[in-house]
Amino acid sequence: MISFFQSQTFVIAFTFLVYYLAQKLQQKTKIIILNPILVSIIIIILFLSVFNIKYESYHEGSKLIEFFLKPAVVALGVPLYQQLEKIRKQTFQILISQLAGCIAGVVSVVLIAKLLGAPKEVILSLAPKSVTTPIAMEVSRAVGGIPPLTASVVIVVGIFGSIFGYAIMKLARVKNPISQGLSMGTAAHAVGTSKSMQISSNFGAFSSLGLIMNGIFTAILAPYILQIMSIWIDI
């Protein structure tokens, strides 16, 4: 039976089914915290624990689903292209706000985690937490963090952003739709972008831009930001 649960067919079908049901659950209940990704992850982890199936065997089967993350990120180039004209008119505003968001993200997460007494490798794993998983893991490895821990936090941050992001921006009086879309991608990468895509492809395009820009800025700047910060505080 266990070996059946580890087969690629079962793992893929099960993941699809769980996600489908989680989507239905949210549509029926309209409770935003019942985010389909979050609910699916919890159900799958519970299932694996109950049947004593190792993560590695689930991962072996689910690799095929994970693979589609790559072409899906490539496909974000289409909404991005469709908004290119609007973006070109405000290159400067976008560059500066992205730079501000990138620095604010790395500095704030490191400072708060340090203040709360997190150990060094956890703090370093948290530094790139706002950018898309592949970049975040790469940066985490480069600065001495634990890449899979980074990946987990990246997903949690993305889910949080996609659930509460637009409400937080409303409270903070970020009213401009372009600013909203952009910030969503900057703070909550592809998961936040998927939320923006659901609103409209317009929001989605600016989120994709935020996700790309913060990804590139974080990949380039995070190691230096950490180096500069370590002059003042003992990370």
């Binding site: 992850i41 990120v73 290119l84 709360l116 987990s152 910030s183």
Partner: protein, 123 residues
Amino acid sequence: MIKQCAIILGCLTIGELIVSLTGIKLPASIIGMILLTVSLRAGWIKVQSVKEIADLLTKNLAFFFVPSGVAIMLYLKVIQASFWPIVISALGSTVIILMVTGWVHQVLRKKGASKVSTATTHD
């Protein structure tokens, strides 16, 4: 459909090729996305030739994250040991990014807009 998939996967593959040739520290998928945008812009690829598959993929982007999210189960001990520092710093910082990026962009936009309007009134 086959053509559409070939284009998307083609961009991804060229992205991987660029990564392996240059050792650049960016994921192949991001490079592929930039390549696709540039190709559409340059007119090498028409939007209709990728639209359907691109819509399908981007609308379901969230689903593809589920397997990597399940990996959390491997780090439950590390997470448990620093649970509150991780949660508070990660979520607090996310709120800060949303506000900082949003505000900076909004303020710069308004400034840009008022510059344009004063320029036109002075004309």
